[in-house]
């Protein structure tokens, strides 16, 4: 399962960079192996969970804005998708940014150093964390569409939202 999540995120690897991806795969600079925590799995699971909650709410929760005859238009579904995406975007950003700022990312992934240990170049930047947030937005969207396709059919009021 952890591999599947990681592979989904890696579809967008060009956005947030290979080094951040290595960190998220759980690469350990000290052991030079992937024995760290697989953060793709942790973040992916949360993203999946949040998407699932919002999909279930949209199709089944008897509350205005969710399973309701006036919010079964495609754009209502899209709004919920965007809200879910924004929440997952912020989780992606905050998680990686927190690790970035607190120095949790291994040095070998952060910098290229010369023989004296001087930094030649930085490999992961703050913007990569923001771009990972954007990636999480996209992944959230994939999950939301996938889960909508599964759960919509038993909804009373929204079963044909957004399509079919």
């Amino acid at each position: 399962m952890s591999k599947i999540f990681g592979e989904i995120y890696c579809w967008f690897e060009s956005l947030f960079g290979q080094n951040l991806a290595e960190y998220l795969w759980g690469y350990n600079c000290e052991t030079q192996g992937y024995d760290g925590k697989n953060l793709f799995y942790a973040i992916g699971l949360i993203t999946f969970g949040i998407s699932l909650v919002f999909v279930l709410a949209y199709y089944y929760l008897p509350l205005w804005g969710f399973n309701h005859p006036r919010t079964n238009r495609w754009w209502n579904w899209l709004i919920i998708l965007i809200i879910t995406g924004i929440i997952n975007f912020s989780i992606g950003v905050s998680w990686t940014l927190n690790d970035f700022l607190n120095g949790n990312i291994g040095d070998c992934l952060m910098y290229t150093r010369d023989a004296d240990g001087n930094i030649i170049s930085q490999l992961i930047f703050q913007k990569d964390c923001w771009l990972f947030g954007l990636t999480n937005f996209f992944v959230s969207t994939i999950f939301f569409i996938f889960l909508s396709g599964i759960f919509k059919w038993w909804s009373r009021n929204c079963k044909h939202s957004p399509l079919f």
Binding site: P69, N72, R156
Partner: protein, 504 residues
């Protein structure tokens, strides 16, 4: 398959049949499977009659498509026409009364007698517009009920267990004269057709359960212009005279209903014909309820008193009343029995009509504000694209006229429009029956009065969203085997039944 043959005599007969059709469309319980309306009127061109005919024609189309074995009660009772004809064809259509009686060929003595019995205006009367309030003419002309083919189809169609009901007004011409003559011929043994053959099953007709309603004055007409014989000043006298004659009907009718109203509306003066189109009145609705009471399974013990030989031993007389004598009244003012019968059906059908867009708007016409029935808030049109209940079933083309299929939904909507018009007309009378706020665009506050009829809005679903939510819920419970039109009506009945459920 029990049938009730309803003879509607004259303009009042046609108007009561109009109300009856509206009640049946709304799904009021009827104790028989089929109603066979038969209109007897010389004035075939009168508008009351033609619009009743159009309504019944539409009803028949919708009734054919509904699932009679389902939950649905809208249009459930079948209306069938004798030989496809609503009117009883009178064979002699001579238009001028003196020609009808053959005055010109009479001997001098007979001519003198006729001149003594009938005024010159009466003899010159053009009967194309009916008897214009003259029962003395009607009783002569309608005597052609005898020795004729006009009852042939009726006799052929009649089976054991069928019932007969006669609607007539007592204060006009056709109804007042037609009722006793019709009753007499129905009880005449061995009626023969024009060729002299006895009509089959006429014996069954002689002994059939028979009810009648006599409508006493409930409206008056404006002062008559010169040349008109219709004069409402004579209504009361005519009523008294006819009532004293109707004493003879005792023990010849199983149940005899009377209805009238002292708070009379004034109608424009028309002799008849195309211009005679009176607004619907609650009295006509109540008269239609008498027909339903006559065949109601629960009232059979009080309505029929017969001996072992099936002879009537006692006539039951019934009158209709409302709880409070008010010029304007709602469901609140009806008795419990009437409420049980009509509150749910009328409210449910009204909600259905409103969903399809039919309501009343106030418009300026020639500087005058006028209430008009039209499509004002077509919820179906707005919502069918989004709601699951309509998905791939009730789509864009669903309502459109299509020569390739029977347009039952088009006819249904035509009846819904007429239903709202009918309600609006009842509001225009001096005795106003105003159960609904016809100007309301809401799904939940359109029923007037204090009765708890409609389930209130909840925090989740309000107004039309509540109806759509129920439609989306109920669609899965409707049989998929039904065709679209039938399923649509079944669906709306289930939904309105869920939302409107008055119990007393």
């Amino acid at each position: 398959m029990s049938k009730l043959y309803v003879f509607g005599i004259g303009g009042t007969g046609a108007r009561v049949l109009r109300s009856l059709t509206m009640l049946l469309a709304a799904g009021v319980d009827c104790g028989v499977d089929t109603i066979v309306p038969i209109i007897i009127d010389r004035d075939i061109s009168n508008k009351d009659l033609s619009r009743t005919k159009l309504l019944i024609d539409d009803y028949i189309v919708v009734n054919r498509c509904v699932d009679v074995n389902g939950t649905n009660k809208f249009f459930k009772t079948k209306i069938s026409l004798l030989g496809g004809n609503l009117f009883l064809q009178l064979s002699d259509n001579t238009q001028q009364f003196d020609k009808f009686i053959g005055r010109s060929t009479m001997s001098q003595e007979n001519k003198a007698l006729v001149d003594m019995l009938f005024s010159k205006e009466t003899l010159d009367l053009d009967m194309i517009e009916g008897f214009q309030g003259n029962p003395n003419i009607g009783s002569v002309v309608l005597n052609q009920f005898d020795n004729n083919d006009i009852f042939k189809a009726f006799a052929n169609d009649f089976i054991d267990g069928d019932k007969i009901f006669i609607i007539s007004s007592i204060f006009g011409g056709t109804g007042a004269s037609g009722f006793p003559l019709l009753r007499k011929i129905l009880h005449t043994p061995n009626v023969q057709d024009a060729k002299g053959n006895s009509l089959a099953k006429w014996g069954l007709i002689n002994k059939a359960p028979i009810g009648a309603i006599s409508v006493l004055p409930y409206f008056i007409v404006e002062s008559p212009p010169e040349g008109s014989l219709v004069n409402s000043d004579t209504y009361i006298d005519k009523t008294k005279a006819a009532l004293s004659y109707y004493k003879n009907e005792d023990k010849k009718i199983d149940t005899f209903y009377y209805i009238g109203d002292t708070l009379t509306s004034t109608y424009e003066h028309h002799k008849g014909g195309n211009e005679q189109m009176n607004n619907a009145h609650f009295v006509e609705l109540a008269a239609a309820l008498a027909i339903l009471d006559f065949v109601n399974h629960d009232t059979q013990n009080e309505n029929f008193h017969r001996d072992e030989d099936n002879n009537i031993i006692e006539t039951t007389y019934k009158e209709f009343g409302i709880k409070t004598n008010l010029p304007e009244f709602t469901f609140d003012n009806l008795t419990d029995k009437t409420r049980r019968l009509i509150v749910n059906p009328l409210s449910r059908f009204m909600l259905f009509a409103k969903y399809m867009g039919y309501g009343v708007v106030e418009k300026d016409q020639n500087g005058k504000k006028k209430l008009i029935v039209e499509k004002i808030n077509d919820v179906f049109e707005k919502e069918h694209k989004y709601q699951p209940y309509a998905h791939k079933l009730f789509t864009e083309d669903f309502r459109k006229e299509d020569f390739r299929k029977i347009d039952s939904i088009e006819k249904l909507e035509s009846i819904q429009l007429k239903f709202v018009e009918w309600l609006l007309e009842m509001e225009s009378q001096k005795r106003k029956f105003t159960p609904f706020n016809l100007l309301s665009k809401s799904a939940t506050d359109f029923i007037k009065g204090k009765l708890k009829i409609i389930t209130p809005d909840n925090f989740m679903y309000k107004n039309w969203a509540k109806v759509d939510n129920e439609l989306n819920k109920q669609i899965v419970k409707t049989p998929k085997s039904l065709n679209n039109d039938s399923r649509f009506i079944e669906l709306f009945y289930r939904v309105t039944e869920e939302l409107i459920n008055y119990k007393n």
